[in-house]
Amino acid sequence: MFRAGSSGTVQIRPVSAIQVEKLTQRFGAVAAVDDVWLDIADGEFMVLLGPSGCGKSTLLRMIAGLLPPTEGRVLIDGVDVTHAPPQGRDLAMVFQSYALYPHLSVARNIGFPLRARDMPKRAIEAKVADVAAALDLAALLDRRPRELSGGQRQRVALGRALVRDPGAFLMDEPLSNLDAKLRAGTRAELSALHDRLGATFVYVTHDQIEAMTMATRIALLNNGRLEQVGTPEQVYDEPASTFVAEFLGTPPMNLLDVTLRSGVATAPGVTVRLDLPDRDLILGVRPEHLQLTTGDEAMLRGHVTRVENLGSEEVAICAVGAATVRVRARRPIGPRAGDTVALRADRFHLHLFHPETGRRLVPLTHQEISCVS
């Protein structure tokens, strides 16, 4: 859909780096965004990920300049723009609602940023035609937004952002109004667009698949605070907290409260050898890393309560002591509801978390364990 127009849609763009320092937004007593520090390099595809209400939109609006922060600074290319209005930041934004001007045609919507910059009419028309061709909107230029489908509106919103060469693109859940198939297609197109333009993207979503597939880095937010910033591989393979471990993955990581005594971590139905000093901790293991076993190497013993069919795979939901453990494997997984199962995982697939703070525990030396700061 987003064909690279030979006519010059693709060009060297001024690309911006964005820094966020100690950014905080309070609405009355609640801190919607709380002490967030973030360095977004130029050309990066940064995804702000988190559950509904965690402050993603608020953070994005502060970067955009639509909401003055209660505290902290925003820097674009090293320049403090905390108090600059949105007009002065050279950022383009795609809203979750798309916010297409309902009284203007598609052509006038796309051309709006150029009209606001007093570009001559001819030049605007040429540029709009370029963008429309690249986004497959050429046939729709005279329509009003209400006469468009959801996917077409999304492309118009994107066109309005693409028509000028902004320092960075800010996008607030731009795909959330699309159906699953269109969303998958548009994901790939947005990634391709990012590769082609080399522009900085700050992309808000609560959809982990969007985050994992498109991001160069993911910033995970929980209750207005940053939980972890890292590449998709880092946040999936080494979640910095139980929140991240549970937010990513379908089904999410299994978490078990265990007590470690003389090298054995135990809980009802759980026996795991860990060569570590005595302490309480949370043991995490991803459903796809659990294997059925018969031998003495079983770490978890329980029974299957239900088996869910995902098409190519199955998920067995098991009761292990009072806890619920999910196992995911190729279909057919084997045991059925009611069967007893013994499960194991490789040592390097086990994740350890602090029982109170939920932060990841990493070995400092091969003897000692400490919190990630």
């Binding site: 609006r61 955009a64 300049g65 639509l66 209005p85 949105p86 007009q87 950022l91 383009a92 934004m93 809203f95 609602s97 916010a99 001007y101 309902p102 009284h103 709006f112 940023p113 606001a116 910059r117 209400r146 309005r160 000028r164 800010l170």
Partner: protein
């Protein structure tokens, strides 16, 4: 050799049962409630609007002096002929047009400006202050204005330092009626505009700011066009209702004078019926105004549909 067969689409698993038709009583029971809910309003509408309207039409073809004992005689189109042959009708229509034009700044221009400014400075108290005049009964307000506008001791003359006879000078009376009516309705209009403004999704203004439009341009290019349905509504209200809004003030302050300078169409109608006791003539005027306003309303609605942009 294996023969391939096409997989059939899912077939009905059993014969479809005939759809049971509800009994007549059951259908009535299901259909009745909406009409029952509407009934009180419909009864009031018929008793207070449609029946008098029909009576007015009938009366316009008769002559009667409002006395219950005197006869009502049929005269055909005589009332209409009389009405159209006097210059009173045209003059009062013209004065009504002047009143509509004079009130438009109060019902449209000032409210839009105040609404746009108030949207930036938020505060309930300002809106309450501006809405207050609307809550004062017109006749009570008229009494106060009569006192304020008194040529000798009135506060208005003292504040302005002039000695104008606001209500009994032929050049000033119409203006006075317009301003007092405007003062009366401006609060309501501001409220309508604020409601219209708060109904516009703030994302549009945010998007325009991101797109680089200045505040003035956001107002001109985005806010005002999206406010157009509200503005069309206010124009419609002003055109259709100015004559009614002014009536209680004319009746208490000037009685249509001096020398008819403030006689608008409704005051003319009332004058025919209840000063000259010529019910037929008054009814004929009423019918003409009803038809005229009906046509204007259809025209304005069609026009506003054309020019206004709905935010959907």
């Amino acid at each position: 050799m294996t023969i391939l067969a096409e997989l059939p689409t899912p077939a009905p698993t059993r014969a479809a049962a005939p759809v049971a038709r509800p009994s007549f009583a059951a259908r009535i029971r299901r259909a009745a409630p909406p009409y029952l809910y509407l009934a009180p309003a419909l009864v009031l509408l018929v008793v207070w609007t449609y029946r008098p309207l029909a009576q007015a039409v009938r009366l316009s073809f008769h002559t009667w002096n409002l006395l219950p004992t005197s006869p009502i005689t049929e005269v055909g189109l005589a009332n209409y002929e009389r009405l159209l042959s006097t210059p009173d009708l045209g003059a009062s229509v013209w004065r009504t047009v002047l009143m509509v034009l004079g009130i438009l700044p109060f019902s449209l221009v000032i409210p839009v400006v105040v609404g746009l400014v108030a949207a930036r400075v938020r505060g309930r108290i300002y809106q309450a202050m501006i809405f207050a005049p609307m809550l004062v009964a017109p006749v009570a307000a008229a009494a106060v204005w009569q006192w304020l506008l008194d040529p000798g001791a009135g506060a208005v003359n003292r504040v302005l330092g002039v000695r104008a006879n606001w209500l009994h000078d032929t050049d000033l009376a119409l203006l006075t009626i317009i301003v007092v009516t405007g003062w009366h309705i401006v609060g309501f209009a501001v409220l309508v505009v604020s409601a219209g403004l708060s109904g516009i999704n703030p994302d549009y203004a945010d998007a325009a700011a991101m797109d680089g439009a200045s505040r003035g341009r956001i107002t001109r290019w985005i806010t005002l066009p999206l406010l157009s349905p509200t503005m069309a509504f206010l124009v419609l209200m002003t055109v259709l209702l100015s004559a009614q809004w002014t009536f209680p003030l004319i009746d208490t302050l000037t009685q249509g004078g001096p020398s008819d300078a403030t006689t608008n169409i409704y005051y003319l109608l009332w004058d025919y019926g209840f000063h000259s006791y010529d019910a037929g003539l008054g009814a004929a005027a009423g019918v003409i105004f009803f038809v005229g306003f009906g046509l204007i309303a259809v025209g304005v609605v069609a026009l506003s549909d054309r020019v206004s942009h709905h935010d959907d």
